[in-house]
Amino acid sequence: MSGQITSHTGMSVKRYKWLFWLVIVVIIYIWGITGVHFTGIKDSAGEVSQSIISGIFHPDWAYVYDGSGEDLISLIFQTLAMAFLGTFISAILSVPFAFWAARNGKKRWHVRSTSGKLVLTLIRTFPEIVLAIMFIKAVGPGSFAGVLAVSIHSIGMLGKLFSESIENMDLGPSEAIMSSGGNRAQTLVFATLPTVLPEFLSYTLYRFEIAVRSASILGMVGAGGIGTPLLFAIQTRTWSRVGIILLGIIITVTLIDYVSGTLRKRLV
């Protein structure tokens, strides 16, 4: 009899669990909605959005190429170059970080790998535009600062992905080299690296796609690429210029995603 009662109360606790979660969610949302100060929407909002849309449909075609080196095509290529070079440097720098952070065996805590993972998290969280601003202090405004920002920031994600693929690696080839008398360097060169290389390349390509997006906005803080003229065009309300730059970015990103996606499918 008593057993039935306890099971009954157990049931009802389970049945009302959703109520508990609902109350928590409602409290969080009340906090969220009352927290954001509704600063109002400018009266000109409708007008401005209309101008932006008409700007996108009537882009400033003259800006596409004018031979000055400051036109859309040159700056898009500069943006792509920033992303490419940054990702390349980052991929090289990430390899030692990945070996640092990779867990070997089943142990959850290990001084070496845990500290490595922590460092990678720190790098990942450090805002990329702050990095860009710091590098602008060192090398002056321009796309080189952007390259450096991309190459340091990307270590956070690439290092993490690389270390995970090292952790999940097939150990067969390494064991084969070791059992036939190879030393550690030979194991690394002939077994470990060839095993993980396709995955490394695939992750690097994936990161390159992300880098193209972030390189296109780094210019907003002065680190080169298409972001600088875009921010300038928005601030001076030259919507036809904004339209053509947006079109340029959309086409570039779509193209890069498609090419990189195709290459990645062939790799893994």
Binding site: I28, Y29, G32, I33, G35, V36, H37, F38, T39, G40, I41, K42, A45, V48, S49, I52, F77, Q78, A81, M82, F84, L85, F88, T121, L122, T125, F126, P127, E128, I129, V130, I133, M134, K137, A138, V139, G140, G142, S143, F144, G146, V147, L148, R213, S214, S216, I217, M220, V221, G224, G227, I234, Q235, R237, V242, L246, I249, I250, V253, T254
Partner: protein, 262 residues
């Protein structure tokens, strides 16, 4: 009579690898030229960079109490932005799912729109919305709503496409219409995935929202920009530490919840 198989000329001299390598080296040289890479300058000015880092190593702790409110505002912006984005994404993801909408052309159109939205970087949206609605957190909320809409609708329609067709067919056989199909067969199957993806997008939005203020879209980014403009790197350090703590806490919470869900 073992014969070593003959390798073709291309195989013998590793033509494929070599040509890839050449293409790669050329690309590196061209891109380095385009971006005006100058490591000499980098190392020459490395002292300035180190001085800046050194200033950052001494956080201005008195600034801490000023940072708390804008950081909370950042989380609130992310929460509301993600929620709006998710609510808009749900109908779009249903319309983009292969197993719900059989009309290939219509589905393609919806996916095309979603792909376009996803190409736009977050800071660019922020700059646009600051121009449209004015400086303040509202611009940030709009930015995050659009940003998360693009991401979440893709995650959602991929989740919908993996569901078990059984319940769908059962309801269809019993004469249910499309709305009933979605409510009684699709949503119960994908609900946990939806919540998990919502949390994941929220994590990303918290990260993104911390810099949106740099262009005037509210939250901690406004203070970040101010401290950098005033060369008050001690304050910048406090803000970055604050962002770090918030991101770690939100990631931890969301990961725990997601592990329980799936």
């Amino acid at each position: 009579m073992n014969v070593v198989p003959k390798r073709t000329f291309a195989q013998k001299y590793h033509l494929k690898t070599v040509s890839w390598l050449v293409v790669f080296v050329v690309l590196i040289i061209v891109t380095a030229d385009l971006t005006e890479v100058d490591f000499g300058m980098f190392f020459a000015n490395f002292g300035q960079f180190l001085a800046l880092l050194q200033q950052m190593m001494h956080p201005d702790w008195q600034f801490t109490h000023l940072v708390v409110a804008p950081i909370l505002e950042t989380i609130q912006m992310a929460l509301i932005g993600t929620t709006i984005g998710t609510l808009v994404a749900i109908p779009f993801s249903v319309l983009a799912a292969r197993n719900i909408v059989k009309n290939k052309f219509f589905r393609g159109l919806i996916r095309f729109i979603l792909n376009l939205v996803r190409t736009l970087p977050d800071l660019m949206l922020a700059a646009l919305f600051v121009a449209i609605v004015g400086i303040g957190p509202v611009a940030g909320v709009f930015t995050l709503a659009i940003f998360s809409f693009g991401m979440i609708s893709k995650l959602f329609y991929e989740a919908i496409e993996t569901i078990d067709e059984g319940p769908l067919e059962a309801l269809e056989a019993a004469g249910a219409n499309k709305v009933q199909l979605v409510v009684f067969a699709v949503i119960p199957q994908v609900f946990n995935y939806f919540v998990s993806y919502f949390l994941y997008t929220f994590e990303i939005n918290v990260r993104a929202s911390t810099v949106l203020g740099y262009l005037g879209a509210g939250g901690i980014g406004v203070y970040l920009q101010r401290s950098l403009d005033q060369f008050a790197y001690g304050q910048t350090a406090v803000i970055i530490l604050g962002i770090l703590i918030v991101v770690l806490v939100i990631d931890g919470l969301s990961n725990t919840l997601r592990e329980r869900l799936l």
